[in-house]
């Protein structure tokens, strides 16, 4: 018992946190990213990878339903919290709950009981077989029809993408808002740096950390020059599609302060944009959507009463 408790505590030193941004929670999500970096905690990239689920903002029904599904997919020990202002209290409570052996055991037992029911379908897992269709080279290939988002890191808040995939190539894409609303608009500088941060994170670039620090208001020098001189990054991103018309590399540079002054960007709506992504790889789709200036709701004021809560599920 003593050993398990200690192992739990040691394991919880650097929890992996899956951040979910609800429309209206963009500043909270950004603050949470800064906090994770400061504490040396790690952002989780999928439910399987997550110890803590932190919902930033107040999710509408569509998102809430998907958040519940993600919660049920997390392996455990697990904890969840909601933050609408400062994310620190919710993260502290969640971390505390990860080390609570009793609560985690009860959670595990409750889930095992839940999992025993159901599963009576004839098809394996109740799934359909994949269909097939012509690909971009006129070959008949299998088609998968997954739904991406809205619980996905570095993904526009509230966005839902219904895809038809052949291998990792997009054969059709339909974009919409999960609950009718997009991410909040921030002031121009923060807005651009947040998108640049998402693109650089997806591209696995070492400059992402500096851009995040710049987004948090720290003086990080000439970002545009530093990123612009990264030839490997340019080689990797050049020529990729951008939904606002330029190529992704040019769009990324224009997002950085002191970068080349591009055309003022008009916010866009997701409907109809999917067609521009047909024939692209999934990686290119992820990057293009991260860079895209989506129109959204007006940002709520950051100064709001702080409310945080976290709990492991108990019976």
């Amino acid at each position: 018992m003593e050993l398990t408790t200690r192992l739990l505590a040691y394991a919880a030193a650097r929890p992996h946190v899956l951040l979910v941004e609800a429309p209206g929670g963009r500043r909270t999500r950004m603050a949470a990213q800064d906090l994770l970096a400061a504490r040396g905690w790690l952002p989780a990239v999928s439910p399987a990878d997550a110890d803590v689920l932190l919902v930033c903002g107040r999710p509408a029904p569509g998102l809430a339903e998907r958040v519940a599904r993600v919660w049920s997919q997390m392996p455990g020990p697990r904890a969840r919290g909601t933050a609408t202002g400062d994310p620190a209290p919710a993260l502290d409570v969640a971390r505390e709950s990860l080390t609570d052996l009793q609560a985690q055991r009860e959670d595990a037992v409750a889930r095992d009981i839940e999992a025993d029911g159901g599963m009576t379908d004839d098809m394996p897992g109740g799934l359909m077989m994949a269909g097939s269709g012509s690909d971009r080279d006129e070959l008949q290939l299998e088609q998968l029809q997954p739904e991406l988002g809205p619980v996905l890191p570095h993904w526009p808040a509230g966005l839902l993408a219904r895809l038809t995939l052949q291998g990792d190539v997009v054969a059709a894409a339909e974009l919409s808002w999960c609950d009718g609303v997009g991410p909040d608009r921030l002031d121009e500088r923060a807005e651009r740096l947040d998108r640049a941060y998402a693109v650089l994170s997806l591209a696995g670039s070492r400059h992402a950390a500096a851009v995040r620090a710049g987004r948090a208001g720290q003086d990080v020098g000439d970002l545009a020059r530093r990123v612009g001189r990264d030839r490997a990054l340019r080689w990797s991103l050049r020529g990729l599609p951008s939904l606002t018309g330029e190529d992704l590399w040019a769009e990324l540079l224009a997002l950085l302060p002191d970068g080349p002054v591009g055309r003022p960007q008009q916010p866009v709506e997701p409907a109809g944009l999917g067609e521009m992504l047909v024939g692209q790889e999934l990686a290119a789709l992820r990057l293009a959507l991260a860079a895209c200036p989506f129109s959204g709701s007006v940002a709520p004021q950051p100064a709001r009463p702080v409310r945080g809560r976290a709990r492991g599920r108990r019976r």
């Binding site: 192992l7 394991a11 992996h16 399987a48 990878d49 020990p77 992820r286 990057l287």
Partner: protein, 288 residues
């Protein structure tokens, strides 16, 4: 008693792999002890499954990665002794790195989920880009020594091969990052796919795959030593391997993810011709 080498190699592999993962985490802004915390975290974590997975293939594929790394080490001479002194040691290593193809594809297929499946596709495309340059990079020292036995290649080096065949050495290092799917060649396990081939794995299942990844990197670095750095006894081998790992992790941390599509371009249009020219030059020096 060459069998004593087996536990020694396994321990050396584990220690170097953990240390390398720590240094890599440190370079990314984390702490040196990150692999230990991560290991503890995955040990207490519950296993999970997906809807209708092919569990046997999925688990076997994950578990095979550390085993493949150890089998790569079997042909590395430690001083005068080798665990398996095969007359075709170089080909053995090559066969082991091709086994990684099967492992990662099955890891993707077995999960019956999108992220791992696409990660598997990405790895196959990446392997198509690096495998032929890797084969020619492996062939070059063998041609110079007129033998496929790794011990003979060590004995044939007056001047280290890294000096006489730098292109083959550099290409080999890049390919080590490729079959360990780490650093700039980590797109099969990238964050945009929720971790790609790693997605849907949790607890001990994930631990085995992550450990296998670092073990593959370490084994690749260890094989570089007899091939290009003149080999050596246990201690020398350890130090030289650590140095190679430092180069891999140091250079890797400065590069972004190289997208597989671009990698195919560079693999076939740049690396393949370069390694062929290197092979030609080395062959001429042997004949003349």
């Amino acid at each position: 008693m060459t069998w004593v080498l087996l536990p020694a190699l396994a321990v050396g592999l584990a220690v170097l792999a953990v240390a390398t993962a720590g240094v890599s985490a440190r370079l990314a802004g984390g702490s040196l002890s990150a692999p230990l915390h991560e290991g503890a975290r995955l040990l207490v974590q519950r296993r999970r499954t997906t809807v209708a997975p092919d569990s046997l293939l999925w688990r076997v594929a994950g578990g095979s990665l550390p085993v493949i790394a150890l089998m790569m080490l079997a042909v590395v001479p430690v001083g005068g002794s080798v665990l398996a002194d095969l007359p075709v040691g170089v080909v053995w290593f090559n066969a082991m790195d091709v086994l990684v193809w099967a492992s990662l594809w099955l890891l993707g297929w077995g999960s019956n989920a999108l992220g791992p499946l696409v990660g598997g596709y990405r790895f196959l495309a990446q392997a198509l880009a690096y495998e032929l340059p890797l084969m020619f990079a492996l062939t070059t020292p063998a041609v110079a020594a007129s033998s496929l036995r790794v011990g003979d290649i060590v004995a044939a080096q007056g001047i280290w091969n890294v000096v006489t065949m730098p292109v083959a050495a550099a290409v080999f290092l890049l390919c080590v990052l490729g079959f360990a799917f780490l650093g700039p060649l980590g797109q099969p396990a990238a964050a945009d796919l929720g971790g790609g081939v790693l997605d849907e794995l949790s607890g001990p299942d994930r631990l085995v795959v992550v450990a296998g990844r670092w073990a593959l990197l370490t084994a690749g670095a260890a094989f570089f030593v007899p091939l290009f750095l003149g080999g050596g006894g246990a201690l020398v081998l350890l130090v030289k391997t650590a140095a190679v790992l430092a180069v891999l992790v140091g250079v890797g941390s400065r590069l972004p993810l190289l997208r597989v599509e671009r990698l195919l371009e560079i693999g076939w249009l740049v690396l393949l011709p370069l390694t062929l020219v290197q092979l030609l030059v080395t062959s001429l020096t042997v004949v003349l």
